[in-house]
């Protein structure tokens, strides 16, 4: 395990490829260090350490300690100014709580529970929830709410609803567990990410498709019967 962790730490040095292209000294110094013992003459080293060529092998890997999420790019969208009389465009804020030490499989239940709720309702429900994961989501929601008010020009913090609430898998650690009769089993120690999108305004009446009325049900059933065909018949 110690080896694994140290490998992960090594990834901290290298960041996202695009970022590295800008931070030239970081990349070049690493290349220079690794290549110096092999060739003392400056020719090859200087070429390799030049601006746009990077010689690191782990560049494609994401930094575990500071992950970049595409999900947060929604916060960068700038919409054109609205005309007068146009309905006010509701604010949209995405937020990620990364690397929670909790199983994504367990967190999922709490995550889907709050979908389509107003933020106050979600916070209330989560605070009464028995499971530990509810605490993580609650904290994330509060942070997202704070961000919405301070950064994204949301006037009233209660005027938000949860449009999107998802769980993502973060890295897992593999462990071994002793069983009886010289047998063993593998355990996974899991980390997860939590993704939430808040939308300004009141929550919709039906987050999912509205339930069918009696008439609609009857119609559907009749249609089902009418669609019946006798196999091999006319």
């Amino acid at each position: 395990m110690a080896v694994k962790i140290s490998k992960m730490c090594w990834n901290v040095l290298s960041t996202h490829p695009r970022a590295v292209l800008r931070q030239v000294p970081k990349c070049s110094s690493m290349a220079a260090v690794s290549l110096q013992p092999q060739c003392s003459a400056p020719s090859l080293t200087s070429i390799l350490a030049s601006r746009d060529i990077h010689t690191c092998t782990t560049l494609h890997k994401q930094n575990m300690f500071d992950p970049k999420f595409k999900y947060l790019k929604y916060n960068k969208i700038v919409y054109p100014p609205q005309e007068e009389g146009e309905p006010r465009r509701p604010a949209e804020v995405t937020y990620v709580r990364s690397n929670i030490k909790y199983s994504p499989d367990k967190l999922w239940y709490m995550a889907i529970m709050i979908r389509g709720m107003s933020i106050d309702e979600a916070l209330k429900q989560l605070s009464f929830h028995k499971k530990k994961g509810a605490m993580f989501i609650r904290e994330a929601l509060l942070e997202a709410q704070e961000e919405a008010v301070s950064k994204h020009n949301v006037e009233y913090k209660s005027n938000l609803w949860i449009e999107d609430s998802n769980v993502g898998k973060a890295f897992h650690i593999k462990g071994i567990r002793r069983h009886a009769r010289m047998r063993y089993g593998f355990i996974q120690f899991k980390y997860c990410h939590y993704f939430v999108r808040l939308r300004e305004g009141k929550p919709p009446k039906h987050y999912l498709a509205p339930p069918e009325t009696g008439h609609q049900k009857m119609k559907n059933t009749l249609q089902e019967h009418r669609n019946k065909r006798v196999f091999g018949g006319l």
């Binding site: 395990m1 110690a2 694994k4 962790i5 992960m8 575990m64 300690f65 960068k76 969208i77 700038v78 919409y79 054109p80 100014p81 609205q82 006010r88 465009r89 509701p90 604010a91 949209e92 990364s98 690397n99 929670i100 030490k101 008010v149 994204h152 020009n153 006037e155 913090k157 650690i173 593999k174 462990g175 071994i176 567990r177 002793r178 069983h179 063993y184 355990i187 120690f189 980390y191």
Partner: protein
Amino acid sequence: MFSRICLSCRILQVNSKNYPGALYRLQDASFNTDSTLQSQRNTHKRFRILRRLKIMGPPRKDFPNFEEMREKQKMTPAEQRQDMKKDGRMPPRSDRVRPINISCTGVIIDQYVPPEGDGKMSSISGEGAKQRLKEFGKKGQSYMQLRKIKQFDEDFEVKEFAQTAQEMYIEAQNLLQDVEKNEDKLHELCSEKAYPEMTYMLEEKTFRWRFLESVEPPRVVYVRTQDMMSKENQYAQVTVRMHLKQTLAVYDRFGRRMYGSENIARDMVEYIVFEKHLSNLYGIWRVHGKIVPDWMPVSEPVIRTYRKKEFEEIVEETEDSTDKEVVSKDDNPTVATA
């Protein structure tokens, strides 16, 4: 009742070398029979340590603790230093040398104080004429400084400069509407001090500014020069008074109006400071800052409302420290200040 499994007769024997006296009966262990997977597992508190011993994998202490990291990121530099001191580590120090910029000064030299109520009085009226007279008295110093500028820049003409300065300012303001695209051009028009001040908080917002007309012709009201580090390294600053009719509106990320309006035109008197690095052969005049007089009324607030933040009251330090503690414990005062 029936679903409970009783395993009272089974005895668990453990290595007595590691855990002396660890011989337990399982008679009062309760079993969760809700799911078939869980049913065969022992959940008793007493054997928790033993169950943990079965795990041979990586020790818990090797797991990265992101919670702790997150808390440490929120720390202030002072707290960070304290935290590192606890562990006996040296305080954080970077090898990076702070860059010094000598292409512009960081301040407005000997700031001009505009006359009170400027722009509201006509120069023909009694009050306006008085202001003009007062200004005239102040001009002596400026003429001295003007001579110094002409030592470096022979072609410098005050009247012409006022006009070009206004054009420069209007162009800079227009370019501010798309900072990302016009960044290079803006750096040509604004000094390194002015650029961050002008673009502050403009990212992810839409800024609309329009120049309509010049109410009064611009004029130079103040000239100052200063040297930095050595006598030869000279800078000149010229304050230009402009009276412009303009519109201004700021929209947030979602295109909703945050401040001002594009339909309401306003007459504004502005005192813009321009700077030039005289000693630099290729130095150019650039926008350096704006003078906002103390007497000016507070500008219009943004449209949205804010919740008042609650701050803790700062207890003033007194000599008698014991007295202070009692007060803070009893009252626990919190005073809301904006």
